[in-house]
Symmetry: C2
Subunit: 370 residues, 2 copies
Amino acid sequence: MNTDWINTWRKCERRRDRANATHSLASLALAVALALPGMALAQPQEPGPRHVPAKVLAVPTDVSPEMQEIIARPLNPDWHDQWKTGEEARRYADKQAAGVVKTIPALLERMHVKMEASIMDGVKVHVVTPDDVPGQNRNRVLVHVHGGCYVLFPGESGTTEAIMMAGFGHFKVIAVDYRMPPEAYFPAALDDSMAVYKAVIKDTNSKNVGVFGTSAGGALTLEMVLKAKQDGLPIPGAISSGTPMSDATKTGDSFYTNEKVDNVLVSPNGFCHAATLIYAHGHDLHDPLLSPVYGDMHGFPPTILTTGTRDLLLSNTVRVHRKLRELHIDAALNVFEAQSHAQYGFDDRAPETKEAFGEIAEFFNAHLGK
Amino acid sequence: MNTDWINTWRKCERRRDRANATHSLASLALAVALALPGMALAQPQEPGPRHVPAKVLAVPTDVSPEMQEIIARPLNPDWHDQWKTGEEARRYADKQAAGVVKTIPALLERMHVKMEASIMDGVKVHVVTPDDVPGQNRNRVLVHVHGGCYVLFPGESGTTEAIMMAGFGHFKVIAVDYRMPPEAYFPAALDDSMAVYKAVIKDTNSKNVGVFGTSAGGALTLEMVLKAKQDGLPIPGAISSGTPMSDATKTGDSFYTNEKVDNVLVSPNGFCHAATLIYAHGHDLHDPLLSPVYGDMHGFPPTILTTGTRDLLLSNTVRVHRKLRELHIDAALNVFEAQSHAQYGFDDRAPETKEAFGEIAEFFNAHLGK
C-alpha cells in the first residue's frame, strides 16, 4: 500500500472533527461514487450563510513565548462535558479547584500581596491586600467577582484574578466567594455579590469603589450595575468587565466564527453553556440579570472591557462595548492578539497579563475617586 | 439514483472550497479505500497548531438588516485575482471605479456635502465641504487617504469615505488622489499624501489637522505620522486608522482565523497581497513605511482604530492598538460585530456606518485643536 497516500489522508482527516465523523464518512463514500469532473465544489455564489473550509492555525509568532505556550495548548479536553446537575458540576469544580489552590501561595508571593478569608454580611470573601498601597489607593476598594460559568472556582480557587489585580494595580481587593450550585441557584451569585458591594459602600464612597471580573465574573460585574440601578443604589465609580458572558442565549457571532478556534471554551455547546443552564435553573436566559447585553445601560459608570481575537466571547464583549458607546459612556476596549477566552489572566508571568492588568489599573486610577 | 444522497453530498460539497478541490477528491477516494471504524478523526491532544473543522456560519441576527445584507454577501468573487503588474491592477481598478463613481452624486446629496477636484502642490485632491460646518470645525481640516491595497480606487472613486466623514462629522475634508501603479510605485502614495499634508499645515495649525483612512488608507495614515516624525514635521492633532494594512508580511493571526470568514479580503493570499507586492515594487515589506506595525510609535497623536470581528485585519488593527497603548498613547478601539474588512464604510444608510463615523467624529472633536 502506498504510504504517502495514507499519510496524505491522515493529514487531511486530522483536520476534521470527531463529531463530524459519521457525516464525513458517508459523504466521502458518496463523493467517490458521484465524483465527476467539473462538478461544483465551489463556495456559494448567493447571499446567505458562509461556508468555511477546515483549516490548520499555526501558533502565532507575534505574541510572547509565554502566551505562545498558552495558545498552543490543545482544545480543553473537557469542553464537551454536559453537566446536568449542580452536584455533577460541583464534583468537577472541586477537583479543578484543588489544582488551582496549590498554585496560590506562590502567586501571592510573586504579587507581593496578602490574603485573608472573611465574612461580609453573611457572604464569604477573601480580602487581598498589597504589601504596598500607594496614597491615591488608600481610600479605594475593588470588589472582585470570579468567573467559571457560575459553577466553577469555589473558595480560594476563585481568587487568582483578585490577587493579580491587587498585585499589578496595588489596590485592596475584596473577592466575593458567592454561593454556587448545588448550594444555591440564580440569582444567588448576584445576591451575594450585591450584599458585599452594599457592605463595602457603607464604609467607602461608591465613587471610590470599582467592580471587576472575567467571564461569568464579567457578566456579574455588568449585572451588579443593572441591579444597583434597579434597587436605587449608588453605582460604582468604574468597572472592568473581562470577556463577559453577556449573552447566555448563544447569540453572538464569535460563538461560531471562533468555535474550535478558542481552546478554552471551545464551543457554544460545551460545558459553559451546560453550567449556565444549571445556574439559571429554569429562569429565562434573556433576563438581563443573566444576559446583561440586553440590559438598559443608561447611567453606567466608565467601563473597561478586555478580550482576545480568538475568544469565543469576542462578539459578546464588543457588543457590550458598542451598547455603552452608543450611550456615549466612557468605555475602553482592549483586544489581545490570538488569545482565547480569558487567557490574559492565565499566567501572571506572561507580559500580556501584566499589560492587561496594567490597562485595567490605569483605567481605575483615571476614573475612581480618591 | 437516490436523490437524497445526491443532495446530501452536494450540501456537503458546497462547504468545500474550490481551491481545495483536487486535494479533496484525492483524499475522499483514499478515505473510502482506507476507512476503518475507530480510526482517529480526533483533534490533536498535544500542544501545537489548531485543527479547525469546516463550518457554516449563519448570517448574524444581532446587527442591523442593512449590515446583515452586507455580511450575507458571498465571498468577493475576485478575491483570488493575482495581478502581476501595475497595468493589470489598473485595468481592474478602472472597471471597479466606473461602478463606484456612479454612486457618488446620490451619496453627496444624502451627506449634504459638496465636492470639487483640485491640485495641491502638484498632487490631485478632492475637496469635500459640508453644507453646514459648525463653529468648532471652522479652523479644522481632515486629510483623507483612501484604501484599496495601494492600487484600487483612483480618482473620484476614492472619495466615498471622505464624503461620509465630511457628512457625518461636518468637517472639511481634503481627499488625496495619490499616484498608484502603474503610474508610480512605493513610496509614491506616501509622498503624495505627505505633500498634501505639508500644504495643509502651511495654512492650518497641525494640531487642528486630522488624518484618516481605511485599509491601505489606514496604513498610510500611520505611515504619514512615522514619516512626519522622520522628517521633523509637526504631527497631526489626531488620526483615525481604520482596519489598517499595518503588516504586509502576512503576519497577524486573524489573517488565518478569519480566512474565508471575511468576505471582502477573503485570504492573506488574495488580490490584496498581490496588489501590495506590485506597489512595494521589490521594496522590503518589513519597512515600517509599508508595515507600520513595526514602526516606532513614540510621540504618536491620539488615535482611533476601527475593525470588525470577521475582519481579516482584526489582528493587525488590535496589534497597532496594543503598541500605542503600551506607550500610553490615547488610543481608542472600536470593533464591530460580525463585520468583515472595512464594512463599516460600505453603506452610509446602515446604522453601524453612522455609528462608526460618529465615533471617529467624536474622537476628532475631543482631540483636535480648534
